[in-house]
Amino acid sequence: MTLDPKIPAGPIEQKWDNHRFAMKLVNPANKRKYHIIVVGTGLAGASAAASLAELGYRVTALSYHESPRRAHSISAQGGINAPKNYPNDGDSVYRLFYDTVKGGDYRAREANVYRLSQVSNAIIDQCVAQGVPFAREYGGLLDNRSFGGAQVSRTFYARGQTGQQLLLGAYSAMMRQVGLGTVKFYERREMLDLVVADGKARGVIARNMVDGRLESYEGDAVILATGGYGNVFFLSTNAKMCNATATWRAHKRGAFFGNPCFTQIHPTCIPVASEHQSKLTLMSESLRNDGRIWVPKAKADKRAPNQIPEEERDYYLERLYPSFGNLVPRDVASRRAKEMCDKGHGVGTTGLAVYLDFSETIKRNGQAWVAEKYGNLFDMYKQITGEDGYESPMRIYPAVHYTMGGLWVDYNLMGTIPGLFVLGEANFSDHGANRLGASALMQGLADGYFIIPYTIGDYLASNKFQKIDAAGPAFKEAEASVADLTKKLIAVRGKTPVDVFHKELGRIMWEYCGMGRNAAGLKKALELIPALRERFWEDVLITGSPDSFNQELEKAHRLADFLELAELMVRDALLRDESCGGHFREEHQTEEGEAKRNDAKFSFVAAWEFAGTNRTPKLHKEPLKFDYVKPSQRSYK
């Protein structure tokens, strides 16, 4: 099997337009004959479901949440990028494209990124028309703010709740179609297998999480918009239910997994406080616009922050990167924080934190000004830590936040299984080795509103579909395999609850496949993970019945997949013997400690083919060509 990214020919500015014209269309009367299954109803899924239903397709949408409004997209705080150039500061489609390719450390596909940049302006228009209350200036026009990795202000925002507002916009568009009967929404359904018939993705098996029954959903194409896999680390900023099961099970059915080792560590999270911690909380990186990051110059300085005089503070980001200062990309800010703490400058009881200080901004603009912009973040910090960020600097530390890797897709967002489309964080496509802030919302909505409605039509119009029956052999086989797996999980009847294994997996991953990675550690992880997986299958204890609401069983299914995915991540990280973006191989750094790429050897997408559990997966390479943004050492100095 060769990987064909299906990048259209022509100059980059014209690729998408030419492609849109070249693609086949489904005539309006025929659209209702096609049935599309959308799994996951966050930003990407809900916007896709709404847009496809508006076009006339029949859509079935599944979510493991009780409502699409609960999707984790809701937690995105800072904003969404679009090169509207409203502030007149020199922005353009090309500049956003350039920044994103550079920010991704030259490991993203140029054509996809350019298209993303092209459609992003329309997203803002769409959201405003839906009634998304973006922040405005006194003249009534939209306000922009700056974000990490860019020197222009192109981020649209709705206080610190941009993700929430955009999700509610997509959700309302989708619920409108639910009301019209064109989208059938099934809540509390978790996809546990992909059904492939005659080589095409034709449906899914989902577990009804309320009564435990397995249900079959058949269609002509399947869209996965099921988010990322950051929870493989147990502690991450992802919501508790975020998981890789849908994508991983599709992977096991033949979908290749792209760049699994590319994970993003977000620099501004609230540090771990106790061993019982269940998740980490992110505070928008927009805080870095007005907050200054520092550590004490002296090692192990235990003085209260207010007692450390100005000249004894090290504003290390401003010192190391005078032109970007505190606004360097996430991977750089995270790594530097870790470095400072590793050198002994960390603060707080654990020594694993740096200060984010607003005192200067408060002095300059007043507390009310800060509260209007960031009030909810200060409130959040206070609720979690019990400390007041206005009074003394907040403590922050990096945490796993986003996964740039995901199922491999071509330019049409179709995976290696025909008819399987993957949108949003679930695919690998647009962010390379590091995602810039305010770009996740942009990608999710671009995929759902403006890309899939075109590309799926081309697929449907170009293929013939035999009638498929949920009682047919493909569905029966998939359902039986899910039922069998559930039975096996329950039958272990060991002594250890699921979360205990999950925490252990998280520790292994953070230690060996986290912010800094090296060959020896990765090799060690390759021994530890299979061993842990073996113990899991010998000793996991799941109480309750499989035929009822059972959160322990849900977690067990998800962890079973994480335990396999983790191994692939480590394998991928080991293979990629270079540093790039969020993937920092300690063996490969410049003298200044920056990530050092090896373009000659690693300018490719690693797409992994599943070869069977406990068998070495097969690597496929999609070479990356940079015709426009020439790879160089990223510099934010």
């Binding site: 803002i124 228009d125 959700y171 109480t543 009822s548 959160q551």
Partner: protein, 250 residues
Amino acid sequence: MSGTMTITLNVWRQSDRNSKGRFARYTLPNVSPDMSFLEMLDLLNLDLVRKGEEAIAFDHDCREGICGTCSLYINGRAHGPLRGVTACQLHMRTFHDGDSITIEPWRAKPFPVIKDLVVDRSAFDRIMAAGGFVSVRTGGVPDANTIPIPKPVAEEAMDAAACIGCGACVAACKNGSAMLFVAAKVSQLALLPQGHAERQQRVEAMVARMDAEGFGACSNTYACEAECPKKISVTHIARLNSEYLRAKLI
């Protein structure tokens, strides 16, 4: 924070929608004040599973107060004793050693219990499907800056839009009324020019759906505002009322 606390929990257990529930008592030593309320429940669940018992089912997801999934009635208060805080953001430092805590699910006819502390809030989705949107199709919309919206109007719309749909308003209201939830959406879209074209149908359809779902009427006790984790103001209910009056009588 130093020292751990012993907490006694009185938790509603119910195996499914149709069975009868009961309270179960658990004593939990070693609760750290730095734990979140839900982490305390995680701890209890680990214990229960190790003993071979069923874990307590409770809805939760983001654990940072934005997804609106968590829904616990803690010691007689929706989301517990603090104002403007979801259950997931509540920390055990709010409680004291030796405290006894009663945890119940949201109670309202349109929110039937699915299991233990988990309720079915799909009624909210049906209300949204009835009219909680602006009918625009993807594509073909004007440039975002075509309609200037005065900052104070946009801010007030944002105040309303901050609703996380958790249902605390319904849970806290003596009438199980969903008025604050419905009003937040009606008000947001009534304030913004984009919502004006459909303001009449929207309020009529959403109120009709709300009534059909079996929510109670608003008695203006304002318990909803007091318990709303996003502190959404009842002035939005006033706006819903005037929108409704206008839709029906003018």
